[in-house]
C-alpha cells in the first residue's frame, strides 16, 4: 500500500496487523480501504492537520492520529442518547447539537472522518451535517464517507479501527441488521455538499467509500 511505501507517508508502526486483533475484538471484519490509503498517503507530515473523527474513540486510532495531526477531536454525535435519540432530533435540535459539539470558529480541521454515519441520518440531517462540517473544516479539507450499497448493514454505526497495510477492521456494535440504504452516488453527492466528491471506491463487500473535498 502506498501509505506504507512512501518515505514521507505517515508512520503506522503503532497500528495492529489483522493477526494481532484479540478475542476481545469480537471477530471484526477486515477489509482494504483504498480511500483511506489514498487520503493518508497524500498527507504531508510536514504540515500536520487537525483531524475530526465522528466515530467512537479507539486507542489504536488515537495513536495513529497523533502521528499525523497537530490536533484531534473525537466527537461521536449520538453520545448518550444513542442513534435513536439522534435520529429523533428535528432540524433545529440537530443543528443545535452540532453547534454545541462542534462550535464554528475554533481552528479548522484538515481531515474529517465521517465513517458510516451518513447511512444512519434521516431527513435533513445529512445536509445539515455536511454544511456544518464544511464550516469547521479548512478549504480543501478531505472528508471520508462510507455508504452501504448492498444487502444489509448493522442497525447502528460500527466501530472502525485503522490497521497496518491500509486495512480497516469493522466492528459492529449490534448484531441486528437492517437494509442497506444504497443511495445512488448522485444522492450522496447532494447529501455532502458543499463537499465535492473527488473519488469513490466500490468495495467487494458492498461498501462504497467516498473521498470528498471541502470546496
Amino acid at each position: 500500500m502506498r501509505w506504507l511505501r512512501k518515505s514521507q507517508a505517515v508512520p503506522l508502526t503503532a497500528l495492529k496487523t489483522p493477526a494481532e486483533l484479540t478475542e476481545r475484538d469480537e471477530s471484526p471484519t477486515v477489509h482494504d480501504s483504498p480511500a483511506l490509503t489514498e487520503i493518508f498517503g497524500n498527507l504531508d507530515t510536514d504540515r500536520p492537520v487537525r483531524v475530526l473523527d465522528l466515530g467512537p474513540a479507539l486507542q489504536t486510532n488515537l495513536d495513529f492520529y497523533t502521528k499525523i495531526a497537530n490536533g484531534v477531536r473525537i466527537v461521536p454525535l449520538q453520545r448518550n442518547d444513542g442513534l435513536e435519540g439522534l435520529q429523533q432530533l428535528d432540524a433545529e435540535a440537530f443543528a443545535a447539537r452540532l453547534d454545541r459539539l462542534l462550535p464554528i470558529g475554533d481552528d479548522a480541521f484538515g481531515l474529517v472522518l465521517m465513517w458510516d454515519l451518513l447511512n444512519y441520518l434521516v431527513d435533513e440531517q445529512p445536509s445539515l451535517l455536511a454544511h456544518h462540517l464544511a464550516a469547521v473544516a479548512e478549504r480543501g479539507a478531505s472528508i471520508y464517507v462510507m455508504i452501504f450499497t448492498a444487502g444489509t448493514m448493522p442497525r447502528e454505526p460500527s466501530r472502525y479501527e485503522l490497521l497496518a497495510g491500509g486495512r480497516l477492521a469493522y466492528r459492529p456494535t449490534t448484531r441486528r441488521r437492517t437494509a442497506a440504504p444504497d443511495p445512488p452516488p448522485a444522492k450522496v453527492e447532494r447529501w455532502i455538499k458543499p463537499f465535492r466528491v473527488e473519488r469513490s471506491f466500490l468495495l467487494r463487500h458492498g461498501v462504497r467509500e467516498f473521498i470528498a473535498v471541502n470546496a
Binding site: 483504498p34 504540515r47 497523533t66 502521528k67 477531536r73 473525537i74 468495495l203
Partner: protein, 177 residues
C-alpha cells in the same frame, strides 16, 4: 518526515510539534504509597469544590468540582465522581460523570466508566474502558475561563493550510476494488 528511527520510538516527538500518545502501559491500579498523595477514603463523601496543592487519590465519592491543575488526580477503582476534574495527570479507574481536563495526560483504565468530555494533549484508553463523550487532543493545555462545552483552541503552526492532495483535484473518478 517519517524516519526509520521513529519506528523504534513510537512516542518520539517530531520537529513539527505533533502530539504523541503512548500505548497503555499497565492495567494495574495506581495506588499511591502512604504520604504520596492525599486520599479520600471509601467511606468519605464530599459535596463541593476540591482544590489543593498535592496529588489526590479518590476512593470515595465527590460531587462538585476537582481542581488540582498542577497535580495528579487518580479516581481509584471504588471512586465515584460526579464533577468536572482538572489536573496535570488524571487517571480514571472508577466512575466519573463530568468533563476531564489534563494538562499533560488523561488515562482511562480498563474498568473505568466516564461520561463526559476529555481535553488533554495525550489520552490513553485501555481496552474495556467505557467512555461516552468527545476527546479533544489539541496539543495545548486547556485554557482558563472558557465554557466547559467548548473545546480548547489549538495553537497552529504558522504555515499555509494544507492544500488538497494533488491526486484528488480536478476530476471525479470511481474505481471498483
Amino acid at each position: 518526515m517519517w524516519k526509520k528511527d521513529d519506528e523504534s520510538n513510537p512516542t518520539a516527538n517530531t520537529s513539527s510539534g505533533m502530539i504523541t500518545a503512548p500505548r497503555p502501559t499497565s492495567a494495574k491500579p495506581v495506588v499511591p504509597a502512604p504520604g504520596e498523595a492525599a486520599t479520600i477514603g471509601r467511606s468519605i463523601t464530599i459535596r463541593g469544590d476540591v482544590t489543593g496543592d498535592e496529588d489526590l487519590y479518590i476512593q470515595g465519592r465527590i460531587e462538585g468540582t476537582i481542581n488540582l491543575k498542577q497535580h495528579s488526580v487518580t479516581v481509584g477503582p471504588e471512586g465515584r465522581v460526579k464533577a468536572n476534574i482538572k489536573g496535570r495527570m488524571v487517571t480514571i479507574e472508577g466512575e466519573v460523570d463530568g468533563d476531564v481536563r489534563g494538562q499533560e495526560q488523561v488515562a482511562l483504565r480498563s474498568a473505568s466508566k466516564v461520561n463526559g468530555d476529555i481535553v488533554a494533549p495525550r489520552v490513553v484508553l485501555e481496552d474495556g474502558a467505557s467512555f461516552l463523550g468527545s476527546i479533544d487532543m489539541s496539543g495545548k493545555a486547556p485554557s482558563e475561563g472558557k465554557q466547559e462545552s467548548k473545546p480548547t483552541v489549538t495553537e497552529r503552526p504558522k504555515t499555509d493550510p494544507i492544500p488538497p492532495p494533488s491526486s484528488l483535484t480536478n476530476k471525479t473518478s470511481t474505481a471498483k476494488v
